[in-house]
Amino acid sequence: MSDSPRYTLRYFDRIGVAEGSRILLTAAGVEWKEEHPEWPQEKPNQPFGRMPVLVEKGRNGMNDFIISESGNIERYLARAFGFMPANIQHAALQEQLRDQASDMFSAFIAQLVANPRDKEKEAQFDNLLTKLVEVQTKQLIANGNNGHLFGDQLSYADIVSYAFYKIIVVGMVKRQANIVEVVKPKLTPQIVKFIAVVESDPLLSAYMTKSDSLAAVVNRPTAQL
């Protein structure tokens, strides 16, 4: 057996759009490591000049398998390790949620970088966040309010949906000081419970003990269900 992990995730040393992949690799229970390439010096060495990049070491003389694009990496890992349903309609419903969360994050960035402040962009972020919370809450309730979006085990949708809240509420605090006050009041009790359930999943304990807690930020003393 080789002495270095089969999986390497290349990204910046921050939460960013790699978080879903980190959590999926953890949930998969495989050995993996993270690299923080010198940037922008190592740009030409990446398949598309950008990160994150996943490197899966080739076995039996095969080439390494290298892919880019955070959403693509997440879906690949989810399929490789059984977190994506085989039924393509069920998979599509889960992927839909991730794509929507990603759009919400893009809108967040657009209003963040606007200078001067752009009320229209802030409204767009607000609308997408509100709609996402509404759709996720409806799905959590329809699924029996067990803290999972689908079924009763940690799924791809659970992981990536959690990751996007973490990217914004924990990851972006340094860039937008008021972000917790903006997002937290919008979170329904079902979403607060969902965050707590994902974070405390035994599959994720190795990662969550080393990482900032999103649940700690969003928990409210009176959250009751």
Partner: protein
């Protein structure tokens, strides 16, 4: 696919983000129609208040999917344009994702003030050069003219849709 499965694709009367879905429904020989909802009058009726929306009808049942990338991947899997091997699938999806980013960068270039563009990441010109180089590089090795394998795949369809959207729209921005 049962004989009575049909699809409705709701979008604007534009190439936009729906072209990949249109091509996949056509290539998949699906029974499908397109609707152009009154906008913004019908916004609140859509699950995410946005378009495109795919409606799949089988007998009495209706199933609804949103988000153009999810719609494309679902249709590609349903009609067999995706490889079963998940690594090969990921390589095709990687191209499609990069293409979406190029389109987004194109609209950013049109709509976002210059000084904010740098904060968003690599700009349209850089991303476009890179994806074209990637497409050409893959095609050099292709003996049949397809991006992958010897028959039309999801990657071919999404790449075609990408150029169809971008070329007419971006000519005023071209540098040559």
């Amino acid at each position: 696919m049962t004989a009575d499965t049909s699809f409705v694709l709701r979008y604007f009367d534009l190439i936009g983000r729906a072209e990949g879905a249109r091509l996949l429904l056509t290539a998949g020989k699906a029974n499908w129609t397109e609707e152009h909802p009154e906008w913004p009058a019908e916004k609140d009726k859509q699950p995410f208040k946005r378009l495109p929306v795919l409606v799949e009808k089988s007998g009495e049942d209706e199933w609804i999917l949103c988000e153009s990338p999810a719609i494309e991947r679902y249709l590609a899997r349903k009609f067999g344009f995706f490889p079963a091997n998940i690594k090969q699938a990921a390589e095709q999806e990687q191209l499609a994702e990069q293409q979406y980013d190029v389109v987004k960068a194109f609209f950013d270039k049109l709509l976002v003030p210059q000084e904010q563009l740098e904060k968003i990441g690599d700009g349209f010109d850089v991303l476009l050069d890179r994806i074209v180089e990637k497409h050409l590089h893959i095609l050099e090795d292709s003996s049949h003219g397809y991006l992958f394998g010897d028959s039309m795949s999801y990657a071919d369809i999404s790449c075609y849709a990408f150029y169809k959207l971008l070329l007419p729209a971006s000519l005023p921005l071209s540098r040559s």
